[in-house]
């Protein structure tokens, strides 16, 4: 399988603190790769580095061979690296459908001026976006809530909406920020199904997560961070048998890594 995303020797320093230290790994096409690690391991920083919300101190991130680190977030999104946020990050006062329609912005062929004048291209864009938004909402089981104002949605649906927004940008790789956090077992399993369906549609997925059982179930491969460094990489079975990983998680219950 071809490599979709390549993280090479990436380091991020905040003053004297090294949050991410010389981490390298790659994500293959149509793969589900999870980044895990104890609290404070640097997962979130790594996530922001990959989505270009932070600029690396050294090292770089490449998408299909093209360097994307150091670009503005909206440029990285245009290249195809799109992140989701935890559930509060949506357009609260828009309808669910409008949230998804606006996220199609990247695909618009008409310019701002074209939209102002209501040119043919702009109208065609609008129609196509509406249709695509309805498809995405159906895929994520949000159709019945399409005209609800987003801030009124319950927890689980908010997270699905976050993913719908990400999907609408038509990314090459979708970065999911703790998609299972704060969910009960049923919710988690539903989300696991959803992520799998996304992959079946041809998406490459990188997720950062705490919930070990879910991660073990869903991932093709995992990358384990501890104190900003990569300590292991491999399939779920390999990771569960890895001494360094067990050591890093010592003190937390064995259950946490699915033993």
């Amino acid at each position: 399988m071809a490599e979709m995303l390549e993280v090479s020797g990436i380091t991020k320093r905040f003053g004297g603190l090294v949050a991410v230290n010389n981490v390298s790994f790659s994500v293959r096409e149509k793969e589900i790769l999870s980044v895990i690690g104890p609290n404070g391991a640097g997962k979130s920083t790594l996530f922001k580095l990959i989505s270009s919300f932070l600029r690396p101190t050294t090292g770089e991130v490449r998408l299909k061979g093209e360097r994307i680190s150091g670009l503005a977030p909206h440029i990285a999104a245009r290249r195809g690296v799109v992140r989701t946020f935890q559930e509060t990050t949506i357009f609260k006062n828009m309808s669910v459908r409008d949230n998804v329609i606006i996220a199609h912005h990247l695909r618009s062929k008409a310019s701002l001026f074209g939209f102002f004048l209501g040119t043919g291209t702009a109208k065609a864009d609008e129609a196509a976006f509406g249709q695509s938004a309805d498809e995405i909402l159906a895929l994520l089981g949000l159709s019945s809530l399409a005209y609800e104002i987003a801030r009124n949605l319950p927890h689980g649906h908010l997270r699905a909406l976050g993913i719908a927004i990400g999907l609408a940008t038509n990314p090459s790789i979708l970065l999911l920020d703790e998609p299972f956090a704060g969910m009960n077992h049923d919710g988690t399993m539903g989300m696991v199904e959803m992520v799998r369906r996304l992959r079946e549609r041809g998406l490459t997925i990188l997720l950062v997560e705490h919930d070990m059982p879910a991660v073990m179930k869903i991932s093709d491969r995992l990358v384990v961070l501890n104190f900003g460094q990569k300590i292991a990489e491999g399939t779920p079975a390999e990771i569960q048998a890895n001494d360094k990983v067990i050591e890093a998680y010592l003190g937390s219950e064995d259950e946490a890594i699915g033993l």
């Binding site: 989505s51 919300f53 503005a72 977030p73 909206h74 999104a77 245009r78 799109v82 992140r83 946020f85 990050t89 949506i90 357009f91 609260k92 006062n93 828009m94 409008d98 329609i101 606006i102 996220a103 912005h105 990247l106 618009s108 701002l112 939209f115 102002f116 209501g118 702009a122 864009d125 609008e126 927004i165 990400g166 609408a168 940008t169």
Partner: protein, 326 residues
Amino acid sequence: MTLNRNLKIAAVVAFLAIVFIAVPAAISSSGRFDLYYTLTSVALLSIASAGVWLTFYIGRINIGQGAYALTGGYVCAILVMNHGWSFWLTLPVAGLFCAAASVLIGLPILRLRGVYFAMVTLVLTEVARLLALALPITNGAKGIVSIPLPGALSVFGITLIPDFATLQNSRLAFYLLAVTLMVVCFAIMYRLVNSRIGKLCQSLQQNEELASSIGVNIAYLRVIAYAVSSFFGGVSGAIFAAISQSIYPSSFTVTDSVNFMLNCFLGGLGYVFGPMLGTLVLYFGWDLLFQTGQFQLLIYSGLMIVLMLVLPNGLLSLAETTRKKG
């Protein structure tokens, strides 16, 4: 859908009939020609307020419109007095000058949010006043006076607008000019807000981080919105200078900037026509309270506080709730 559309068209036609036919007819039959000046002011202030409303729409509290109105006034006055330009040419130039200035100023300050942006824009108004006092070209505290009335506007020898100085009723002419510009301005605003650009602005207002993650160039969009806003400020300032035939550093001050913002609040931040209604109500409200003498400001500010508590979404939200109930 079609019913809704017909209703909208009817509302627009009714509005145009009122401002262009009914109001002038009522004024000439009652002989209250001073009302022209008042209504012209309302129209011009509502243009500047519409600009402020647009910056609210991208999630920024703008208390700096006075600076652009003042700049627009001076650009118009200087070009007419020192360089002999036609007023009609200075009008777009004043707007464009303000838009260009706002791009330069906006690039750094639009990174700020909330109260920080508000504070900087507040200072901007004061800076503009002090600049007008200090710069040699603006003639200091004496200001620029005796600006001639707008001349004739002809294209290819056809006179579109006659020389204002030759008119018997230049007040009516200014009224028609201001109202026409107001209609154009709000038509532009309506189109902006109801196209995709409006949705993009809303996305900025609600969550800039998310907007940039879906590929919206937030810095660019913010500057564009701010430039349009300042353009409106500049144009309205330029006409004010032409009407009063003078411009002073104190023509637009912090109070005016605050009023532009209040107009938006009062009308409703969620409604394109909010600033127009807000300006009308505030302007006449202030005048009506004139008889209360020394209590004028007290009653006025008290009423404002109550209104904001009772109607946080502005006067136009009243229409919405009745529509829902009915």
